[in-house]
Point group: C2
Chain length 726, copies 2
């Protein structure tokens, strides 16, 4: 038996590393496992001895000798590889091989462009940006999940600059925030040789087959392979769906069982005798403590205590937890469930939402780690009991199971842009009823990886009045991260609409006002741009306006927008051509962003959490939307009272408002004033940690049109290539 | 610029290989891509030159020279690695490093055992069993998908032996078919040093959180990590759910749009003018051809043709396509959908099934490749039109989208047993209404990988009267594979039940008849064992009985069963202790199976497909179940007539019958006789390719009990370890 481990030690940033050498360390085989600050285990990923290190033996004794030899011979490499590793702990400018672009004109379809580029193997990209072998979990050739342990390893490293891409009030066609985000990082890293990361939302799969199509950016500013990005990715949304629906099933099943059994019968089933022993599960003991019953022996509970313990007494009319699917299925918007005889007539009306509308998605986007996620999952309120007290996932005993279902989803997914620069795809909460920003964890990891002089660019859903406001007041508050720059995306098309241009509707061809030069419409429409700039300034963050140029925009129109933007307080304003030219088309934007980031940002939140719920809503309505005041419906008011009573009054506010106008009326373009913002209802995502007032009705389930996208989507069985995605 | 590619050629099995060398070929970096018989491209997976080979350029010119040097220097290695690769094409006994087991007593929980073993990195396992680097897609450390291209590479290699594990009529607790399957391969490979593969079904996630728990085997015969096996795995079931529900949503949306629009409006939306051009999509052209309209110019269709084209005219009362979730959600067994105002009152009654009950799962299990899967998906019948003609997924235009959603699910997932031997996990069709066998593709790939002298062991759900019968008549018929041996799993417990022992019910403690020696009950119960042996013999395949020994079984009981089994025509009968001892406990079984496999099997199907549907049902009922005759309800008869009329009369039969008795009455144990088998209804899975008669009602959606498994399931945020799975 060869004697392993051997000990060596290295000085690393004024700490001593104790290095356990196990196995035959060919440099390319060495993997380094962080155990705790100051200690690492180095072992050879593809070697039997690493197993012996775990107390086992090879079934082929002969291999031992071969290998013991190898050890001796290779110790030299061992040392080299360790020195390399120690370097990898320090910040460095990435030595990243970018992928060359040869943009064609006219610009081909997104899927053609994506397919024409062959991505780097994701493990190569991971190595380029300083990830260690055991910090990634590869999913096929082009996707990898990144372990959260990296945050511990690099916790002493300073963060990079934090850039938010937001937009003016858009047309229904969208103004290209995602393409700007991708174009910007392609410019920073592939053309200016600055470390940068894009952090994007994972798109819902439903709309990919409905109307919208994909969300990987577009043209020559895309995440590739776009079909991987737009389809299952690494299964995070599927995991959310499974967790969400397990909880939903648990609610109705529990109501049924409580309604059909005596306290005694319930107690015998909930706390059964197993092999002669009767005991509470951990989660049941926690519930007992919450009920103020400090007993651990099931036989000692009084009848009253048993009754308190076994009955959640859920009031079905108060259930707010809905089932979800990641499919555009309009027929599930309102349904009646429980109509089979086996459910004994306990029917009720319910609904399915699109999966990304699940509170669990909002939690994934805001959580800081496994322990925090588990706590948030347990705190989710699903209904009230008949006394008006909140009933949580923890009360239903399902917290642990939900955490288990989500254990991999919590790791961000690494992909790459068309030019081979790194991208994180992680979480995509529904902007309608949630905060619509990608995950805090992806941003935090990316900020460590890019290092002090690097940039992390992320995106806020909808217009700045919604997405950016939520990004600052909800996401940044939860993460503690401070943004350096806001990139505000505008298009001549949207500005003309705000200036009084005719309606823009998806599907229908654009009116000539939008395809021919019209400086007056542009000038008039800039009021919306100006207002959105002012909103960003409320938070004390410098604004760079990115004008996403279309081929129909005239030079005069482009100049006019940039000039007005600067006059309106933007730090800078630049035209971008990333869609047709890739990163090269966004170099000016990248330079402007870099300059703006060198300003010190005096970031501040818009409101204090201690304020009453209604006060917080009013501040957003007046300061951000420009409303004269707000008006709560009786239903909304009683919800506000309930949440305040239940102790949820100090949560931030997540407005559910149309993105097509600063006001609540989609048809009011430009900068509406003098309106009263009607709050029809107020709901809460306690686990995610926000109250969401509904301004009018918000659809949480898209539908399929007469001719859905899927008519054009196909798979070539010979080449395995996907066609028709866009 | 260095000149690549270089050419060399090698003699390989009397064929000439033309080898294109691109990039710097360090042996460990070389990947080999099969292009067509006789030609391979060898290139370096992590090298810029491989990119240049794709017509691109590195952004770091300096690297070229470094690399051109490298090429010259490493050509020698190149040659070596090629020779290695050429060897890898030939069959060889695996040089596989098995994981050592040190079984403890009493046997710990499944999850403890699974966690105590550290699995090999899956890429190491893949290399050990002869998979090439580019034939696997790694999912994390312990799972990998295997590309179907392997079937082309090894098509000239002879198959291994094909072993089916089936069982006698079980108790509700199950008799351990999965553990026998795993124990057998652990014995074959880890203890007898024979190449072997286990091919298992992926379990539904729903029951994992309900009553049943996991399905990775148990004790010291398990697939590890069992939590990966039992949870999302590589997302195949999630992909099926997404595809199934997209089709479901398409059906209802189409009905709504047809009901609310004129022919003209429908036509304008289905065939819109895009950038001035109006054209049919590929899938629409296919539909036109099916309708006998041989036109390609949308402007030339007559009003009548337009009406035929735009209206599927689905009769809502005939819709057989249900939505699915992979959750035990009893409240979705019967629901009313479409109750939101946006659906204009087109409400209808529907249901959700558990995801594995989807026809798409049955297709995944039976398909032979991408092209075949796509064709089957298109052929799925979802309803009838008002003229009584079948409406298919192809008619709805969704075939391509379904194939895209399933493009990764079609690749089997590689995992390993507790002793480090290979396992494929792929497909898990619901045994209630489908054929309950794992995938044909996994079996085919495994049969190539184990080689001529190797063994592939797979499992049939339920008792042999259902699972094995379907395996032979449906799965083997579809794959053309010929089984060598049937392993019939029996337990003393189940035999005592058949001998007249008291009821066995899940949850309740076992009566003493089952924990104390009772030779009479055993002897009487062996009638069921004998009958199941005879059923296997109907198909001309030798039977080895595996008695799954429990610690309460007495030696006399064990001997008695083995003796009776041999008298009843079994080739051999052996006791197994794999649950407590791992592969070592199944060595005798492995030896018996190897001997039995050397017999020539005279395999034949039970019935001819050309027979009328009713005749085929009768043959199964009489020859397999021992029924006196069958009796069709009027509903069943009219369905039979309809399917025959529609041209589906020649499909095999997939009986939906209880597994708790040879008859249709679960309480009738042993070998019931003289009963008339009632066929209440007859349904069809046209894409999967079978007719399934319902014998009584079959639940397609399990429920959650008062105390679901999830009460014990938890995640440790610090160690990321899962607790409480079993």
């Amino acid at each position: 038996e060869t004697k392993i481990p051997q000990w060596r030690s290295y000085n690393f940033q004024s700490r001593i590393l104790n290095v356990v050498v196990a196995g035959s360390p060919k440099p390319e085989d060495v993997s380094v496992n962080w155990i705790k600050p100051g200690t690492v285990v180095v072992n050879c990923c593809r070697d039997f001895h690493s197993e012996k290190y775990h107390g086992q033996q090879s079934s082929h004794p002969v291999e031992h000798d071969v290998c013991s030899l190898a050890i001796a011979m290779r110790m030299q490499n061992m040392v080299k590889s360790l020195e390399r590793w120690i370097q990898s702990q320090q910040y460095r400018k990435w030595d990243i091989r970018c992928l060359k672009l040869q943009p064609r004109s006219p610009v081909p379809s997104d899927i053609e462009i994506s397919r024409a580029q062959s991505p780097k193997a994701v493990d190569v990209l991971a190595k380029e940006i300083g990830l260690l072998t055991d910090e990634i979990e590869i999913y096929g050739q082009t996707k990898a999940k990144v372990r959260l342990s990296l945050l511990e390893r690099l916790k002493d490293q300073p963060d990079g600059k934090y850039v938010l891409v937001a937009g003016i009030t858009p047309t229904p066609l969208g103004e290209g925030k995602s393409t700007v985000t991708i174009g910007l990082v392609q410019a920073l890293t592939a053309h200016l040789n600055i470390n940068s990361f894009a952090c994007l939302r994972q798109p819902s799969q439903g709309p990919t087959f409905g109307v919208k199509g994909g969300a990987a950016g577009g043209g020559y500013a895309q995440v590739i392979p776009m079909e991987e990005f737009n389809l299952h990715l690494t299964g995070d949304i599927h995991a959310i769906t499974a967790a969400n629906n397990l909880l939903a099933a648990a609610i109705d099943a529990r109501i049924l069982h409580e309604n059909t059994q005596s306290d005694k019968a319930l107690y015998n089933r909930l706390v059964p005798v197993v092999n002669g022993v009767r005991g509470f599960s951990t989660i049941q003991l926690a519930r007992l403590r919450r009920l103020g019953i400090n007993k651990t022996d099931p036989s000692t509970l009084t009848e009253e205590e048993i009754s308190k313990f076994v009955r959640l007494d859920i009031d079905p009319s108060t259930i707010t937890w809905q089932r979800v699917v990641d499919t555009n299925d309009r027929f599930l918007r309102k349904i009646t469930i429980g109509q089979a005889n086996t459910e004994k007539g306990f029917v009720r009306q319910a609904q399915f939402d699109i999966a990304v509308a699940s509170e669990i998605m909002a939690i994934l986007a805001l959580t800081s780690g496994l322990a925090d996620m588990k706590e948030r999952l347990g705190k989710m309120v699903v209904a009230n009991d008949k006394k008006g007290q909140p009933v949580t996932a923890e009360d239903l005993g399902v917290t642990g199971a939900l955490a288990v279902l989500m254990k991999d989803a919590i790791k961000p997914t690494l992909m790459q842009t068309l030019e081979g620069t790194p991208v994180f795809v992680h979480a995509g909460p529904f902007a309608n009823i949630a905060h619509g920003n990608s995950s805090v964890l992806a941003d935090k990891i990316a900020l460590k990886l890019v290092g002090e002089k690097g940039f992390v660019v992320t995106e806020a859903g909808f217009g700045a009045d919604i997405g950016m406001e939520k990004f600052f007041n909800i996401k940044c508050r939860s993460s503690g991260l401070v943004p350096s720059v806001v990139v505000l995306v505008a298009t001549v098309r949207a500005l003309k609409m705000h200036g009084g241009g005719p309606n823009v509707t998806a599907g229908a061809p654009l009116k000539k006002e939008y395809t021919e030069e019209n400086l007056q419409l542009v000038a008039d429409g800039c009021c919306n741009l100006q207002k959105q700039i002012q909103i960003a300034q409320l938070f004390g963050v410098p604004v760079v306006v990115a004008l996403n140029v279309f081929k129909t925009d005239s030079p005069a129109e482009v100049d006019l927008v940039c000039e007005i933007a600067k006059r309106s307080g933007a730090f800078d304003a630049v035209p971008c051509n990333h869609w047709s030219a890739g990163g090269r088309g966004a170099v000016k934007l990248a330079q402007a962003v870099e300059k703006a980031a060198s300003q010190k940002s005096s970031f501040k939140y818009l409101y204090n959490l201690e304020l009453p719920i209604v006060e917080k809503i009013r501040i957003i309505a007046q300061k951000v939307y420009g409303a004269q005041d707000i008006e709560l419906s009786p239903a909304a008011q009683s919800q506000v009272d309930r949440y305040s009573r239940q102790g949820f009054g100090n949560l931030p506010i997540c407005m559910a408002k149309t993105h097509l106008s600063l006001s609540h009326q989609p048809e009011r373009k430009g900068v509406p004033t003098g309106f009263i913002l009607p709050i029809s209802d107020v709901r809460a995502s306690i686990g995610a940690g926000f109250i969401y007032p509904l301004v009018g009705t918000m659809s949480t389930m898209p539908g399929l049109p007469t001719r859905p996208c899927f008519y054009d989507i196909d798979l070539d069985p010979a080449t395995e290539q996907v066609k028709g995605l866009f």
